[in-house]
Structure formats: C-alpha cells, structure tokens
C-alpha cells in the first residue's frame, strides 16, 4: 500500500489497529485467571519455599531470621547425607532401569496383538489406577512379618519358615524397589506402546524380506526408532522415583532404622515430624533444582525429535 493510499484511508487503518489491540487485550484478559492460578499455585509456593529455606523457621520456636545458606551447608555436611544419597540413587536407578526394561518388554509383547491382547492391556494398566498409598499399605500387609502376612503364609505352604521381610535393610530396599517398579511399569508401557504404534510398518516388512530375525528387528529397528520415547519415559520415571513419597512412607517409612530413607522421606520427616520447616524447604529446593535439570534434559531430548518431525 502506497503512502498516498494510506493518506486516503486513515480512519480504516486506525480502526484496524484498535481492533487488533482490543483483540490482544481481550485474549490477555481471558487468560489472566489461568495465569494467576498457575503463578499463585506453582511459582509463588516455589519462590516462598526458597525464601523459607534461607531462614531458620522452625515451628518449635517463635519467630525466625535470615540465615543465608546455613540450611544448605547443613544438608551437605549432614552425617546421614551419604546414606540418604546412596539410598536415593540406588532406589531411583533400580526403579528406572527395571521400569524401562520390563515396560519395554511388556509394550513389545502387547504390540504383537496376540489373542487376548486387549484384555492384557487393561490388566497391565491396573497397578497405575490404584491409589499409591493403598499400594503401599497392601504390600505392607503382604510382607507383614506375622504368619498372617500373605507372603509368609505362601512360604509356609512350601514348608519354609517365617521371614522378617522388613527387618533386613537389603530385603526392605528390594521390596520397596519391587513395589515401586510394579506401580510404575504401566506408565512406561502406555508411553512406549504409543511410540511403538507410530513406527513405520514398511521398515519391518523390508527387514523381514531381508531375513532379519525377530531379535534383529527389535535390536536394529525398534530400539533405535523408539530411543527418544524410551529416553522420555526414563526421564519422567526418574522424576517420579525421585519425588516418590507415598509408597516408601506407607511401606517402610524409611526403616528399618534409616536403611531405606530417601531424600523425599527426609524432607517429609524434617518438615512434619521435626517441624524444622526451613531445613525441609532447603531439601525441597535441592529437589526442585534436580527436577528442573531433569525437565531441561527432557526438553533437550524432545527437541531433536520435534525438529526431525518438522523436517
């Protein structure tokens, strides 16, 4: 449009600008409640939590003051830091690896469309729909040391004596990992099954014609093509295991002693048993940073896939 033309139609242009401005303002007005809720319920608590972590707020005392990074120094020099870190790392690593391997195996099997696969899909998802606290309490009953415990009852049928399942630190950790893995597998299966269904069939057909075995098709086609999805499920599983509190708390409570204490349980105990809110907040902030790193990793993994998809 030339300047002359613009000069001939000034009113029309102004009206269009106003309309556009109104439209932008209107959209902003409509998304404002959503933005306010998100900021109020996520950003504010996170920022406030960080602020609290820099104070010595303890509900056992009146008042609080700014102490800088004292709570963080305390955490990184705590005597039980080694134990908690070791427990958390082994728990997260075991859960994530087992969930990924077993979840992938289950997803590939379900994708084979064997007879009854629809029913099996529903059954596999069942652990995911159970409330996690209920899962923890039910397994606590199953592995109860009493002869009334289901596990001990089953052992007694084979003439095996009672086991003290939760009094041995290693056994308690194995049970905890097993239960959390059992609960987490359906999530991995759902993600991987969705990924498997998007893989191109013609590649498999070509490989079959070339004489590739089932294992070779899995190893050289399925796994490479599914790698971004596997990575996403691993990253999300890592976040889930790291933040997991309900099942560990209901199942072992960190016991025997502190043998299965995870960082999430430490946070809970400090904040709600010891009432040391500021120390709990500092542990929470550390977990927040780890979670942010995981999200960045997740986005990094997702980004090349998007670029590939766009291409």
């Amino acid at each position: 449009m030339s300047y002359e033309t613009l000069a001939q139609h000034p009113v029309k242009i102004v009206t269009k600008t106003r309309k556009r401005r109104f439209a932008v303002n209107g959209y902003f007005f409509f998304i404002l409640p959503g933005v306010a809720i998100v900021l109020g319920l996520t950003l504010f608590p996170a920022v406030y939590g960080i602020y609290i972590s820099l104070t010595n707020l303890n509900l056992g005392y009146v008042g609080s003051s700014f102490v800088g990074f004292e709570n963080y120094i305390r955490f990184f020099t705590a005597a039980d830091l080694g134990l908690i870190t070791r427990n958390t790392l082994s728990f997260v690593a075991a859960c994530v690896i087992l969930q990924a391997c077993l979840g992938l195996a289950a997803a590939v099997l379900l994708e084979q469309r064997l007879p009854g696969h629809q029913l099996m899909r529903s059954i596999v998802i069942l652990p995911w729909v159970l409330p996690s606290v209920v899962v923890g309490l039910v397994f606590a009953q199953i592995f109860g040391g009493s002869r009334l415990g289901i596990a001990n009852y089953l052992l007694s049928l084979f003439g095996i004596g009672q086991m003290s399942w939760f009094s041995d630190p290693l056994l308690a950790m194995i049970i905890l990992i097993g239960v959390c893995t059992w609960r987490g597998i359906p999530f991995t299966v759902i993600i991987l099954l969705g990924g498997l269904q998007t893989l191109p069939r013609d590649v498999y057909e070509a490989a079959a014609i070339d004489g590739a075995t089932a294992w070779q098709r899995f190893r050289y086609i399925t796994v490479p093509l599914l790698r971004p999805i596997i990575m996403i499920s691993i990253i999300m599983g890592t976040g889930g295991a790291l933040n997991s509190l309900d099942i560990p708390l209901a199942l072992t409570g960190g016991g025997p002693g502190n043998a299965t204490e995870l960082i999430s349980i430490a946070l809970y105990k400090q904040s709600f048993f010891q009432l040391d809110v500021s120390y709990g907040a500092s542990i929470g902030t550390i977990m927040l940073i780890v979670n942010i790193l995981l999200i960045m990793l997740y986005l990094a993994v997702l980004q090349p896939k998007r670029r590939n998809d766009d291409a």
Binding site: S65, A79, A172
Partner: protein, 427 residues
Amino acid sequence: MLRKMGFIAALMLSTAGAAHAVDLKVLVPATYSPSSGFVPGADIHKQLYDKFQAANPDIKIDYEVFDTGPAGLQKLLTAAASNTLPDAVIVDGQWIARLVQSDVLQSLDGLWPKDDQADFHPAVLAAETVDGKPYAIMFQTGMRGLLYRPSIMASVGLKEFPKSFDDFMTASKTLKEKGITAELVPAKANDEPATLHMLSVFWGLGGKLVDDQGAPVFFEGENGEHLAKVYQMYHDMAAAGAMSPNVTTMDETALRPFFYGGEAFSIGASSSGIKQMWSELPDLQNDLAVAPYPMPDGKQPVTVLGGYAYAIAAKDEDKKAAAWKFVQFMTSPENMTAVNETLGQLPVRKSIWNTSTFFSQNALMKSYKAIYDGEMQTRPAVPIYTAISTAISSQLAAVISGQVTPADAVAAAKEAVMREYDRQKSR
C-alpha cells in the same frame, strides 16, 4: 389468622435470636468429634454437642477436625499466624507450653474453679500449667504397658506375668519352645510411641532426658548408662528370641495381628486402643490384662503421662465466654465420664475412677488404676525433645540387629541431638 401471626412472630424471634448467636469455632481431632470413625465415639460426641446446643441456644457450634500429629500443631501455629484461630480447641498435652509461648492459648485462671481442679491428678494439673496458670483441661490419658492374654499365660504354665526382667527372660524360653514370642514392643525409627515405651523403662531406671534448663543430658554419666541399659534390654530380648527383630519396622497398630493370632504373648500398647482391640477381637473382652514393663535391678517403670485437653484460643470476650461454657460442659464429670467410658480411655478425674462402674469394676481398668496411682511423668516441654525422641528411636534398629553396641548408640544419639541443640541455641 392468629395462628399465622403467631408463626410469623416465632419465626422473626428465632431469626433475631440466630442473628445474635455466638458462632463458636471448635477445632478437634476426629476421634473426639461427631466425625469419629469409631461409631460409638461419634455418637457420644453428637449427643453431647446436641445437648450443649439445646442448653445454650445463643451459641452455635461450628466444629472442624484436624490431625493429632505434628501436622496438627503446625496447623494451629499457621492459624495463629494468619489470624484464623478457632475459639476452642483440643490440644495434645505436649503442645501446651509451645502454644502458650506463641500466645495461641488463653489462660483459664479465674475461669476454672479451684475446687474442680482438685478433682484432677496433680501430675495432670502440672502438665497443663505454665508459669503458674492453667491453660487447658485434660480429659483423658493413655498409659502404655504390656498387654497380654491370661488364657495364653495359663496355657504355658505361667502363674503371673513376670515382674523382673530376669524372670521375663526365663519365661520367654518356655514361650519360645511353644512357638510364642514373649514380647513385641514398637521400635520403629522416628515413631513417638516407640520412644514412649523406652522412656517408661529409662525413667524407671532413674534416667533424665534434659536438665532444669532444658539442655539434653540423657547421655551424661548415669543417664547415659541407663539409656545404654535400655538398649541392651532390647538387644538381649531380640538375641534370645524373646522379641522379634520385626519390631524395628512396626508401630503399635502393626503389632496387633501377632497378638490376635497368638504369635506374641505380650505387646506394648496404649490403653487408648483397648476398645478398638475389643471390637476387633471380642474374645479379648474377658481375656486381656496389662502389666508394667519387667524391670531389672528391682526398679519400677515410670508411666509416661500424656493426653488430650480442651483449651481456649478466643481473645474476644464474648467468644471466650462461649468457649469456656463449651469447655466446661465437655469436661464436666458427667460428660467426661461418658466420653471416657465410650472410648475406653483412662480418666484423669479422681471422681470418675471411683464413681464409674466401668472404671471401678472392670479388671483391666483396675490394673490401669494401679499404674495411674504409681509414678507418672510428662515428657519435657522443650523444643529439643522431638530431636531427642527421634535420635533415641533411630538407634533401635541397629542396636537390635547387633550392628551397633548400646554405648555407641548412646554416643550416636548424643551427636545427633547436640548438633541440633547447638544450632537451636544459636537462634
């Protein structure tokens, strides 16, 4: 027409009355409310609330339930900070000093008549008094001891529950031969009842947790020796098969299946759970007894006194007066008897022990009365107590499994507590 006018007048009067009614906000644990999961408990509180409303039409009870654990204290302190405190509240006796410190509770001085106070056990009055002023009225207490079934005791040829620790260990061998574990006491880390069971024995041996200034001394000199002795007792019981090592992951409730199934001869339990146990296994109504912890060296255990209490948080004069009416009503001998009998929780009024048929006639309650009349002690109302409790119970698993010696456990508990105490002192 006249009837219509009368109806309208009555409606207007009731509306006017309602407009002037005091809206009394009451914060209570679910167990002590019409929302209790224990149906008889819910019923008795509903009846009492209705009775109070009928007698006080100018007061409208608006109750809300809250957690009894540390989260409950957190909720009260948060409510105080946000100026949303209730008018009347049921508090854990352990919280009273802390709540007074934060100006949450109002003094009952001048409200609570001295002659009524005289009906309470002196230790109870001491537990609810801060700087010479009463701040709450306890309405129940729970005592911990060893529950056992006399029928099982008779079946294994024991005439009475062993009184000394040596006799208990001897009896445990007989029980073990018959496939019965002699004792299960909760020993879960960070579990307050696990500490409470230990404290009875520790105090009975003469141990002290803190000094007069509130500084931790449980590891010093004789105190440290007494605590090591308690750890040693737990270890010896587990090593001899008198106690299952499973206890390191169990709270009081988790012990019950072992007791119900006859696997455990005795379990560490609170009197507050008796009615629940009777309802879960009705046979226990005529087959349940309580014994103090068997002690070494001819000592007697000291009962840990704890319980819930009604208190006033309202500062407004009208609300405070209404709250006092409610507290006075709920803690009157008649109503306290009804609640104590229904819930099976031990009374703290001397008169109830004497007048209530249940508490004065029931054999089990008579046993509790004997413990009640003995020596009682409250947990120290100092902020470091929670750290002490956690540190002490956290060592149990390692001691029981033999990974740590009792002396090392005391040292480890000291290190954990003193690090926290030094940090707290520097505030």
